[in-house]
Amino acid sequence: MTDVIDKPKQDGPDLKVVGTRPVRPDGVDKVTGRAAFGADYRLPGMLTGRILRSPHPHARIVSIDTTKAKALAGVKAVVTAADFPDLDSEEYEAGESAADIRDLSLNVMARHKVLYDGHAVAAVAATSASVAEEALGLIEVVYEVLPHVTDVVEAMSPTAPLLHEGMITQGVTPPPTRPSNIAKRFASQRGDLEAGFAAAEVVIEDSFTTQAVHQGYIEPHACVATMTEDGQSVVWSSSQGQFMVRTYCAKLLGLEVADVRVIPAEIGGGFGGKTTVYLEPVALALSRISGAPVKLVMSRDEVFRATGPTSGTAITVKIGATRDGRFTAAQVELKYQAGAFPGSPAGAAVMTALACYDLENFSIIGWDVVTNTPKVAAYRAPGAPMVAFAVEGVIDELARNLGIDPIAIRELNGVRDGMKASYGPTFRNIGFQETLQAAREHPHYSAPLAPGEGRGVAAGFWFNVGGESTAALHLNEDGSAVVVTGSPDIGGSRASMAMMAAEVLGVGADRVRPVVADTASIGFSMLTGGSRTTFATGMAVTQAAQKVVESLKARAAMTWETGAEHVAWENGQAICLDPAKDVKALSLAELAANAARTGGPISAEVSLNAQGAGPGFGVHICDVAIDRETGHVAITRYTAVQDVGRAIHPAYVEGQIQGGAAQGIGWALNEEYVFGDDGRMQNSGFLDYRMPVASDLPMIEAVMVEVPNPRHPFGAKGVGEVPIVPPLAAVANAVRGALGFRMAHLPLSPPKVRAALDRSG
């Protein structure tokens, strides 16, 4: 079934559970150490796996000799690419966006060539970690080292070393005759650019760069996998989607989907980085040979070197405006690093670049470029934060140049309902103006700054998505209920699922216990990502609960010997509306106790493909103080305002906003992949890859604006992506205010700020 409930419940007052802040149902497990994450699983006879990784950023694999490793006592299996099917290129949709299955296979285990420092070339399973590690040292790989390129702009040069000899740029007509590292060109335009700039009274143009940054989840990738001699497989793993893991494992190993069962572990953070597979197919291949369960856990070094950062970028933005601040034209060109295989978020960046603004004339060009760096993975609002950093920076300069308040210039040019989005469709039920207004009226915005401090403002946009979800609701004999979904809980979604079901049933949230089920125990669900779970899976949960209520009403009608049309459901009980009957209301527990007599167990399962996710907008205000001696930038106050549709569990919505803002602040100030001339990552640990710690941040005030999405039963919009979009620009604009000049190259780390101060005299 495609879709939705047409009559949204939009009014707040009669909601009893939605909008409250109950303790999350999985909370006690997580504060007591009981919760089992990917690395916490142990099976009888389990072997320990280790992966051998390339020390070269680019090399041909001449030969791999595993003889000595296999001969070591305690080694039970050694695999290389030869143990996986050599798959043809095929775009395959496994839960979210399409991936090329051949690229995925080559990323999981290199064949013929290694394309980045850390690329997997072989794996072993042994009776202990020390034996496995010793075995890695006995695998002899002969490499023919090739020239490499890690920087996105250098990779676009016609003289750059080629990663894929046959790669012809897509999206260019006529197609180029020679291969390059440019995988694809994206373009989007409207109106007459030349006329638009001719009408401008002020034009600002600047070029920006951002570095590759990692999602930085604290839990390294981990799994346990087992395969029997007939190919039946079970995988326990920490991911954003057990069904995604199942699909990819089946494809990469040539198994029937029904033979692969994936049991979701608790996931210790993902942020987009766990929307693909790295370890699971390797663990299965090792188990296939050894006949024993195999556990694979990455070290932090492996997480940095071999799993998805997001793109480093180079972006140029030019915007023209009239004296009164109205934008007349905008031109954006963005270059996004994809890593070893095509598929940077350049396309999404093109679509989001100007999505906040009403523009008659614009041109946006995007380039997807491969480099000798790990293949990028999704990271929260993929592609949007970097281009927002550039666009919002130029808008900040325009506002300064024109003497217009930075929120006022965004209100003047910001999109409203009925306007055409820069990416095509007409906006409906959006809350950008409401969000800007809430930011303008917030006490932070009018608070005086201390001498030397700077204040920055920036806006951000994300589409949010819906998609396929399944939910089942089972009523128990005492009137309590279980809600089962296939959506991993990354940030508290179990709580919101239970709350939505409880709201419909008319009971307290603690009467509904949520379960995240394995792939054999619930219908297909796309992965948790794109801020889709509370929207789409929440819709399935709500509909399942409504079906249960319909069943309860029918059973009450049977009990009272009246028609179902004479039964209403209020506050968790059936009320008889039949004037001919003088009967007491029937409670949920009473109806549940009589289930056997009235037709059997009371359950409902709903599978749907949710459409109509509502886009979200955020506006952030950031204050900074700069230590001019050290170049250290301190965030002194931070406020994040966002249209959330309707907050189901406001505390976890605030948490999404605060966490996204903190990640964006880290991206702006300190985080970056540093590559040496040898093409190797130089800072693959948390000491040198500097993520924000508690003492780096102030309280982050999250302000929720609620412009309900009529396509969701309670008005919810996705909330997880938007908050990482504005911070890069908000921080950089604040630094601009404090320094008096703009720094356009992230991160704004102490050495760079210090050097910029030196240059400015």
Binding site: M351, R380, F463, V465, Q611
Partner: protein
């Protein structure tokens, strides 16, 4: 006749840059079949890479979604997310 606008770079590469079409279709399924007839192979591309915004709401893999005669239909690239 639904008014169809192509924004997706992939679609434009297929239509030789043509951005606006009138298509007689009352569902997404009919729309895709009709576009595929006009540009052979475009249907497959849409199924793999394109989302369809109908009157401002983005649809993906939704053959049954209805188009009204005056519907605004926009073909855009599919969006994933983190």
């Amino acid at each position: 006749m639904a008014q169809v606008v192509a924004v997706s770079s992939d679609v434009l590469a297929f239509t030789g840059g043509e951005t606006r079409f009138e298509v007689a279709a009352d569902t997404v399924r009919r729309l895709i079949l009709a576009l595929d007839e006009r540009f052979p192979g475009l249907g497959d591309l849409i199924e793999r890479r394109v989302a369809i915004a109908i009157d401002g709401e983005i649809h993906r893999n939704a053959w049954g979604a209805a188009l009204r005669p005056d519907s605004e239909v926009v073909l855009i690239d599919r969006i994933g997310g983190g």
